[in-house]
Symmetry: C2
Subunit: 206 residues, 2 copies
């Protein structure tokens, strides 16, 4: 079973749904996910893809859609969450550093929880320090390390890699050459990794 690359950006709203369920899915299925933070805004601006900022009706729908789906999964976010994030790039630099050092998934989960459930924007205080302390990490050293050129450049390189794969939004699940965009395509990606076809659509509940 090939691994699934989970391309995400802290700053993407639907990524909340994926971050909250991915550990459980991985445990139940044995599927390996590689968490790969990137700067989705960099790609979307370059591709003239502005999904919500100038579209209030679509944005209101997005929050309602997330609220309904979160509730069905036992989550209780306080929506709308602060959006867009001012410090999206920095939040993902921290995530990238964390992926290298082994605390990335815990940080991403905790910072999303605080962003969506406590209303604290990710990538800013008090979310950053509280999230890091909650997972046993020391904020000061990480804040400095995450803005060093090596990490900033690595995030840009990962973003270019995502773009070259055809990723244009977050979250995206990549299996070989196939891109699956959106939390609602996670099942497609899992099926593809196993069967090379979307078997679950033949067994839809209706």
């Amino acid at each position: 079973m090939p691994p699934i690359d989970f391309w995400f950006s802290i700053g993407s709203t639907y990524t909340y749904l994926s971050v909250m369920r991915l550990p459980g899915v991985a445990r139940r299925t044995g599927q390996r996910f590689v968490w790969r933070p990137f700067d989705v805004r960099r790609i979307m601006v370059a591709q003239n893809n502005i999904p919500f900022r100038d579209k209030p009706v679509k944005a209101a729908y997005m929050w309602r859609d997330i609220a309904r789906r979160a509730a069905a999964r036992g989550l209780a976010p306080a929506l709308p969450a602060p959006y867009p994030l001012e410090h999206l790039t920095f939040a993902n630099q921290v995530a990238l550093l964390g992926m290298r050092e082994g605390w990335g998934e815990a940080y991403v989960t905790e910072t999303y929880r605080r962003w969506f459930e406590a209303g604290e924007p990710a990538g800013a205080e008090p979310n950053l320090s509280a999230s890091l302390r909650a997972i046993g990490e020391e904020p000061d050293g990480i804040r400095a390390a995450a803005t060093e050129p090596a990490i900033a450049e690595a995030l840009i390189a990962e973003t270019d890699r995502a773009r070259d794969l055809g990723v244009f939004g977050a979250p995206s699940f990549v299996v070989g050459a196939e891109v699956f965009w959106g939390d609602d395509r996670l099942e497609d990606a899992l099926d593809w990794a196993r069967h090379g076809t979307l078997r679950h659509l033949a067994g839809e509940p209706y």
Copy 2:
């Protein structure tokens, strides 16, 4: 069980997936769907919502996403289909007339089949006449009747009604005050009509 309003526009790509499966879903579930054509382009232009025309990467993904999902459901579209449709408004005027006269669903299904499987743009020849003849209707009278002011105005009125409900894209499934956007939200709409919650998400295959 309340009826589900199926707001669609011939011209929407993902609507192909819904049109092709809705009759089977209705039969298996007993769910009543009210097919309501509207002019999605009118709403999207007003809301500055241009999903694909200036976004080649996202458009390429959309076709691949539809191809994978269509294949899983036993469909064999020839993609990409001609897009965007030049005569979107007219195609939906014909659909609205057909809904009033009882041949609307058959026309919509047939015109989508020719658009997606034979590469003939909907709302234009040869698709229009061939689709109507295939369902036993005479094209000439319908072409004239569909452009009469009463039908043109009725399509605008339905479009305004959709917009007032919060519909911003097609297909949309509306259950009471809840909008579910996209073919991939049909299960959510069915669950909502039955349970007022998205029960199927608790029984996801993974």
